[in-house]
Symmetry: C2
Subunit: 587 residues, 2 copies
């Protein structure tokens, strides 16, 4: 293709509201154009990348036996009422009334619709397993859309849904999708990690996120470099760092710590390692009567080591908290602890609270905690001697780099990632809610065992850029670059030789099926090179009168420090060598 | 592909709410599945056809120099307020409020968004002409959605928008799109006609509809079989059928016509040709003051020959009516004519009305019309002698088969069509409303000259089926059939020979790039054949033990009356011959 038949629009500066590098670069390189908050036009350059991503996903989904269909964007509320999501989902679900005042939603996903299809179409066990997918526009009315395509409101997603006759078969469908996702992300040329993720109320271990590795990622990935262990921070197990509690060596002492309300400040004041301190976090749960009035409030004290962070997802799975909790109010804290926050601890409570200690805290001796008196902490605290054993010991903290791996195979590391895919075993959550059954061999109705599998198509663009860019712009993997090769002729409009050579190379590459762009805009070389480096085309060939006179062109890979002179006769072979090495060439 | 990797779902009977054949067949063949009124799931079989249609459109649009992008489904109301369409459009425009109570619309088309892109991105005449298009989900909240994909609410449309520097250049862009549309519909293998269409307030002659010919079509197409003249019925000019008024031969006479209130009944009673009668239609226009109160009502009497039909679009272009009109009420009619409807005419009015005669009526002599007295008509009526000349003579009727062609090249014929595409010169309607300008050579801002070009992607499926089906099901053109060839092995699960031969043929065809389906379901031959005839696959090969023993398979084209025995060794060549003849083979 020649640039005159296309549309190129680059900016020197990104608009001020673009906060992260992928958003800035996508705007500057003319991939997207803002229409409203979290709503973007995908400009011609960006759409090319989207289409390449979609094509790879589609091929791998088909290869894995999934069948493509297309479910509507505007969906009747009735189905969403069957599962209760119409009412339960917050304002992220965009609700709309039609001309007859009937309720509809703009789809954020399609569990309801696909389950409705299955309960009508999949009548016999003989039709199972079946996996339906579509690639469709989604809308999620984010409270604060930002980061361009990373947290937009309208976006494109591939969502697949598997239907199986039993748990074992559903497990196989899950494994097939897991493998297909690996194939997709391999082919996309992205560095990624599949990590175990929380399954919430559904339980089990059948949930994995596919995370694109990027320093700027929102998610923390916990993994073991010497084993296959990988989980997101919400799920990653934290083993106790102290194998066994040792006998007390110090006496309990109330120590003045004026104005020192954090573990860090107290440790510094007392000249102790932070690992000797214990942090107190106060939560509350409520019981309500049928009228919805609060009948009882229970206060919970959660203890983690001073250098550890509470894991709110893990806390939310504890028996007493899994119905929902909140952080306690200052009034509730003062009522139970007789003290303002900053100096709280498990000793000398005014009213009873439930004490939950992290597995590491439960094995600590001679530790430091708040004295429930402003400007005072206790030192030399010991379980059993100075206070009762905790009501419960549990894993309630985030894993940290350097922790032993839960599989016993090494030491954990942490890296940042951007979630671009998710495979999830749903069980019978939706099939039961919607009474979706098939007939088994005995002619008896059984609920479908389901799984759902999503890939954020447009989000992949942002994630790929976060992972791979430099100060000049984007560095696309070959597989999803808007163009694989750009030909930059110097003096295309002035030199017949340059024009002829550029056209010939363009036609030859096109005939070989290479996605090639010839820049015939007549821009100055500097501006032309800057545009294509910003856009991130992985391979560039520059033709000039001077070079052609000596029989050479200049080749430069997007990551190469400098250009290489290549004989005109060799250029096709040279490019083929660089291209055929595939995604690795740009890694 | 093998059917076990796909999803086939056929029905013996169509649901009762399916009124037309394409809707019935699409439901029965499992192409679509209703989700709500006018909202359909595109099932795997239907989606294959959609993707093929989209691919052909995309190729031809790209070839014509248009550039693909993707504009959002959910669009901010602000842009639609700039053009006034947010308020002017009726309830067809689906309006929605986001979580912050801001107004949005679900796009029915994208003039506003693309013009917004152009005014930001196309700054100089050097960037023109430019044509942007997208293929995207649309929503139009039809009052009464029906006929499946023919008048659905959610549908897929290709819409393109051209931006030019002046009228001459916009004309070239229009011609390019017109040619691209011809290429698209040629390749789709459809019998179609491009017909001139009304341009409404924009005027000029730059509007064409692309109509797929089908007896069941909603639109009447007027064309001249011996010339290139073709227009839709709204636009087609009706020349006067009487070249010149002849002198009166009869005297005016009031004739009793008790109970005969239609021209047909009166002509029969009086034993006269219908062509001697004149039909009276009464319209009203209103003037209002600034407060919106009606200050004046004008009544109009429109006269067309008894065998002609009023053309409401043509009437709406007359000077006095183009501000909007309605049919008069019975009260208004009695006030002005002193008579109830059924016996109205231009003679002896009680209060003045504006009389507009069709060009044919104006040249009639000795005609029959109502006497403005119940149960009476006048005969022998003559202009000038019995009543004043009409206030205006105009073309206000529908063209009829047999009328002379307006180009003087023959006689008009009428056929039915289904509108699937529209090319339209917009001029500066949107660019002026949105202040969308570029800088000309002199650095002066100029409004873009625009055109818009739509193709109803999903509607094409319905139109193709209306055009081409039989009592057994759909007959797809090769180019958009869900599969081009179906292999039906008899005893695939029982006979190793049949399985081997079927698999081999499948693999050979697939290797040649033929879109082939192998039915491995193990259905009985009758059920299997019926399914694929319903689905409409154009080429079928049947393999059986008996045939293979004598070295033959059976080939049958979807339109062939019977199967042909083909030697196993010849089958690939035989298929290639049938396939390579392309769309014509199935015409």
């Amino acid at each position: 293709m020649k640039s005159s038949q296309f549309f190129i629009s680059t900016l020197k500066e990104a608009p001020a509201d673009a906060e992260i590098v992928s958003h800035k670069l996508m705007l500057r390189a003319g991939f997207i154009k803002r229409l409203g908050a979290g709503i973007y036009n995908y400009m011609p350059m960006g759409l090319r990348v989207i289409r390449k991503v979609e094509a790879i996903i589609r091929e791998e989904m088909n290869r894995a036996g999934a069948v493509e269909l297309l479910m509507p964007v505007v969906q009747p509320a009735e189905l969403w009422q069957e599962t209760g999501r119409f009412d339960k989902m917050g304002p992220e679900l965009l609700r709309v009334k039609d001309r007859h005042e009937r309720d509809f939603i703009i789809q954020p996903t399609s569990e309801e619709v696909v389950t409705d299809i299955a309960r009508q179409e999949l009548r016999s066990y003989k039709q199972l397993p079946k996996n339906f997918y579509h690639i469709q526009t989604k809308f999620r009315d984010e409270r604060r859309p930002r980061f361009g395509v990373m947290r937009g409101r309208e976006f494109t997603m591939k969502d697949a849904y598997s239907f199986d006759r039993d748990v074992a078969s559903a497990g196989k469908s899950y494994d097939t999708m897991y493998a297909a996702y690996c194939a997709v992300f391999d082919r996309l040329g992205l560095q990624y990690r599949a990590v175990a993720a929380d399954t919430g109320a559904i339980g089990g271990d059948r949930s994995h996120e596919f995370q694109v590795i990027a320093e700027t990622g929102e998610d923390a990935i916990v993994y073991c470099p010497t084993s296959s262990y990988a989980a997101n921070i919400e799920l990653a197990e934290s083993v106790p760092l102290i194998a066994q509690r040792v006998a007390p060596a110090q006496g309990l002492e109330k120590t003045p710590t004026p104005g020192k309300s954090t573990c860090e400040d107290v440790a510094a004041l007392l000249n102790l390692p932070l690992q000797r301190t214990v942090k107190s976090l106060v939560l509350a749960t409520e019981e309500r009567n049928e009228a919805g009035d609060i009948t009882k409030v229970t206060v919970w004290l959660l203890l983690v080591r001073g250098d550890h962070a509470l894991n709110e997802v893990k806390a939310g799975k504890l028996v007493g908290l899994k119905g929902g909790y909140r952080f306690a109010t200052v009034a509730e804290i003062e009522e139970h602890f007789g003290c303002k926050p900053g100096y709280l601890g498990p000793i000398g409570l005014k009213k009873p609270v439930k004490v939950i200690a992290d597995r590491t805290v439960a094995n600590m001796s001679d530790f430091v905690c708040g004295a429930n008196e402003a400007d005072f902490h206790f030192t030399g605290v010991n379980w059993g001697r100075d206070l009762p054993e905790p009501d419960e010991v549990a894993d309630i903290r985030n894993a940290q780099a350097g922790d032993p791996s839960p599989d016993g195979q090494g030491v954990l590391a942490i890296q940042r990632g951007i979630e671009v895919g998710h495979v999830f075993y749903l069980g019978t959550k939706y099939s039961k809610a919607m009474n979706a059954t098939f007939l088994d061999e005995g002619g008896k109705p059984q609920f479908f065992e389901m799984g759902c599998y999503g890939i954020g198509v447009t989000r992949i663009l942002g994630a790929a850029i976060e992972q791979s860019h430099d100060e000049r712009g984007i560095v696309w993997p070959d597989s999803i670059a808007p163009f694989t090769v750009v030909i930059c002729p110097i003096g295309y409009d002035r030199s017949a030789e340059v024009k002829a050579a550029a056209d010939q190379l363009h036609d030859q590459l096109q005939a070989q099926g290479v996605d090639v762009m010839l820049d015939d805009r007549g821009e100055r070389p500097g501006a032309m090179f800057a545009d294509w480096e910003l856009i991130g085309v992985p391979h560039r060939v520059v033709l000039s009168d001077r070079g052609l006179k000596e029989g050479t062109v200049e080749y430069q890979g997007r990551r190469d420090a400098a250009a290489t002179k290549v004989a005109v006769a060799e250029v096709l072979a040279h490019l083929q060598a660089r291209l055929s090495s595939g995604p690795a060439a740009s890694a």
